[in-house]
């Protein structure tokens, strides 16, 4: 056992709010969000960047928060699943997942929603092929994906209409 290292103050914006955490620089962003900030929407699935359950947006880019050492989030603008809805109002894309049955057990759902936010920010009217590619880093073991693809198509239609 080595003596605990001094922590560092690391500052970033989460869901529009400026936050500073006292953390070890190599702590995973996922653990900091969940354990320091109580934002438990991002889930740990595989812990190695294969499943996408821990997806968040970092400066507008979709990332696996399990693979980000928190020091690299210094100064970043982070959006987690908790920051997608506007107050109590679900975004149209979230409602589309509900309406289409794009969620079952729910573990993968925050990651799919974040990947969909990212995809629609780049391509507001994606083709089915682009949807498949945009979500290819997210694994779901319940739905068989058909309902999720349908939800994203529906989400694209609703988001562009609003």
């Amino acid at each position: 056992m080595t003596a605990p290292r001094a922590r560092s103050d690391i500052s970033f914006t989460v869901n529009g709010e400026a936050r500073t955490v006292s953390a070890q620089p190599m702590e995973r962003l996922l653990d900091v969000l969940r354990n320091h900030l109580g934002l438990t929407g991002a889930k740990e699935g595989c812990g190695e960047g294969e499943c996408g359950s821990c997806s968040v947006l970092m400066d507008g880019a979709l990332v696996n928060s399990c693979l980000v050492p928190v020091l690299q989030a210094q100064g970043a603008n982070l959006i987690t699943i908790e920051g997608v809805a506007q107050k109590d109002q679900l975004r149209p894309l979230q409602q589309a997942f509900l309406d289409c049955g794009g969620a079952q057990c729910g573990i993968c759902t925050p990651g799919f929603i974040m990947a969909t936010c990212h995809l629609l920010s780049k391509k507001p009217q994606p083709t089915l092929e682009e949807i498949r590619e945009g979500l290819s880093g997210n694994l779901c073991r319940c739905t068989g994906y058909a309902q999720i693809l349908e939800a994203v198509q529906e989400a694209a239609a609703r988001e562009s209409a609003r």
């Binding site: 620089p25 702590e27 960047g49 997806s55 880019a61 979709l62 693979l67 050492p69």
Partner: protein, 292 residues
């Protein structure tokens, strides 16, 4: 066993000269980390032997793609997303653009870097055969200055490179000489997205008066390092592509690779598939790139 963050140090000096000074002060004791898509996986699994990391993420000097008249210089920590969406890469280096699009899912493409992929030196990395056929050079940097080395010489053995302990890759330089070539690439894996290759091939060629004027072929996952298939190229170059030449080329390719049995595939399967990919490329080249 999961790693304890208390056991690890990570610093982010924020500019290139501070990073290379740190590496020079204690050569070999700092592990550079860019997007973390390899290092953090080892860390999470408790398999990371390095204890001191220096962050290269968002260093402005390493994050640019510069378009010069004769070459394209890709900063070492440019991400796969940056690379696959760059207009000159898409137009003149399509093999690199498609390899970037096969590398992981979007989240990993947003963090994984070309320089990181090179230094990690996996023989299965999808983008490395493309760098071989484009005859890339690497710009290396340390406090001692810069040097350029041909990428083909960089990997000296399985996971071994000629990078000195105080050096970083600064940029990957691609000569802009192959825009009219027929290009071919294919990855064979368990699924297209987010799966590590069983075999991948990248190839370029040009015909002149019905004969192969220039040809470059490279493969991943068939040897301890990404491999340029020079003997196969020698068989093809200067000749007309017909079924006899294709058989001859397949035999040459099988002779110069050193595939293994591992969790993803077998040596026999890799050898058979590689021969078929070489054939598919030559058939495409024979028709001037008209067929798929």
């Amino acid at each position: 066993m999961r790693s304890d963050p208390n056991d690890y140090e990570l610093v982010a000096p924020g500019n290139l000269s501070a990073v290379v000074s740190l590496l020079a002060d204690q050569p070999g004791s700092w592990l550079p980390i860019a997007g973390g898509t390899d290092v953090m996986v080892q860390y999470a699994a408790g398999k990371l032997t390095a204890r001191k990391m220096v962050s290269l993420w968002n260093l402005p000097e390493l994050r640019q793609i510069e378009v010069a008249d004769s070459e394209l210089n890709i900063g070492a920590t440019c991400t796969y997303s940056q690379i696959r969406n760059h207009e000159v890469v898409k137009k003149e280096f399509p093999l690199l653009a498609s390899a970037a699009s096969w590398t992981g899912g979007i989240a990993n493409q947003n963090r994984g870097t070309l320089g990181g992929n090179i230094v990690n030196a996996s023989p299965a990395a999808d983008s490395l055969p493309a760098l071989l056929v484009y005859e890339a050079e690497l710009m290396l940097v340390s406090v001692r200055g810069e040097r350029r080395v041909p990428y083909v010489d960089f990997h000296t053995g399985y996971k071994k490179t000629l990078l000195a302990p105080d050096e970083l890759i600064r940029a990957i330089c691609l000569p802009r000489r192959t825009s009219g070539y027929v290009s071919y690439s294919r990855k064979v894996g368990a699924r297209n997205a987010q799966a590590i290759s069983k075999v991948c091939l990248a190839a370029l060629g040009q015909l002149s008066n019905g004969k192969v004027n220039d040809v470059r072929i490279a493969a991943g996952s068939v040897a301890p390092v990404p491999l340029r298939l020079s003997e196969t190229e020698g068989v093809v170059k200067g000749n007309t592509i017909d079924s006899a030449l294709i058989q001859h080329a397949k035999k040459a390719a099988a002779g110069e690779i050193r595939p293994i049995d591992d969790i993803r595939s077998t040596a026999a399967y890799r050898s058979a598939v590689l021969g078929n990919l070489v054939m598919e490329f030559l058939q495409k080249l024979a028709t001037g790139g008209q067929s798929a």
